[in-house]
Symmetry: C2
Subunit: 146 residues, 2 copies
Amino acid sequence: MPSKCINVEDWLNALDASGFRMTAVQETLIDIFAHSDFPLSAEQAWHVARQSRPKTGRATVYRMVEKLENLGLIRRVHGYQGCSHFVPTLPELMMLFICQSCGRADYLDSQPLQDLIHQSEDSSGHHITDSRLQLFGVCTSCQENA
Amino acid sequence: MPSKCINVEDWLNALDASGFRMTAVQETLIDIFAHSDFPLSAEQAWHVARQSRPKTGRATVYRMVEKLENLGLIRRVHGYQGCSHFVPTLPELMMLFICQSCGRADYLDSQPLQDLIHQSEDSSGHHITDSRLQLFGVCTSCQENA
DNA sequence: CTCCCTGCAAACTGTTTGCAAGTAC
DNA sequence: GTACTTGCAAACAGTTTGCAGGGAG
């Protein structure tokens, strides 16, 4: 499964531009979220963070996740059984696929979705400002290994 | 905004067929969910239920919601700020629009979405088994009243 | 008469808040 | 030095569970 590359520099710049102070915890968490290729919850990120920084507090992670979400750097994934997981945000509209077997996330071409949304906007008359499309199934590599 | 009609008879039959015993609480809750034109959380449904049956227990509502969801009669709505609200399930694939202003839900034509999903399946190679598309914005009537 | 359903209360889980100490700028 | 950040612990909200009594089939 192809994995999208997030530019950590950009994240640090965005945080800096927002007046946030850069600390070791923040760098650790940014690293965790930017490089995970499957959705992470705050709780999970906390466990990962504690592997390298055992004293990391739970609340700190929750606060950081909130920041990252508010800055639009990560985005909440609304899945089957819950909606507390996050993936790095891509510049374009996201069309997210999540493999039920391995849990990995993949970003698909979102142009058709944009077309679809414009089409629905015209036919319904509603003004559409945002969307969440999530696809579930079995990814190519899990199909091969089945 | 048009509202979809759910056949309460069908729900009662489905519950009956699943071996559930029909009680007054269940009828009340089915009525609430089947006729609400905006997503309801279990908590909200509980409050509504208590208006007609003050002694209704919270847990009973949660259990009933779980049943309805398992039977596929209601479906969880993954929204902006949470994912604990439910709408009646339509037979066909759902394309759900939620108005940020009035909170009402509308079901849009889902055929284009089905086409899009098949298209994405072919181009990505993933086997897609389910999807959640949710649209947010301002509905026609809220636009008029603005 | 049996077993499921109900309401109550307690337990639980994920998340938020308050606060004193620490640290980036 | 100032004000944001951190870790801890307590508070909180939504949800689940255990149980005794009640009601459907």
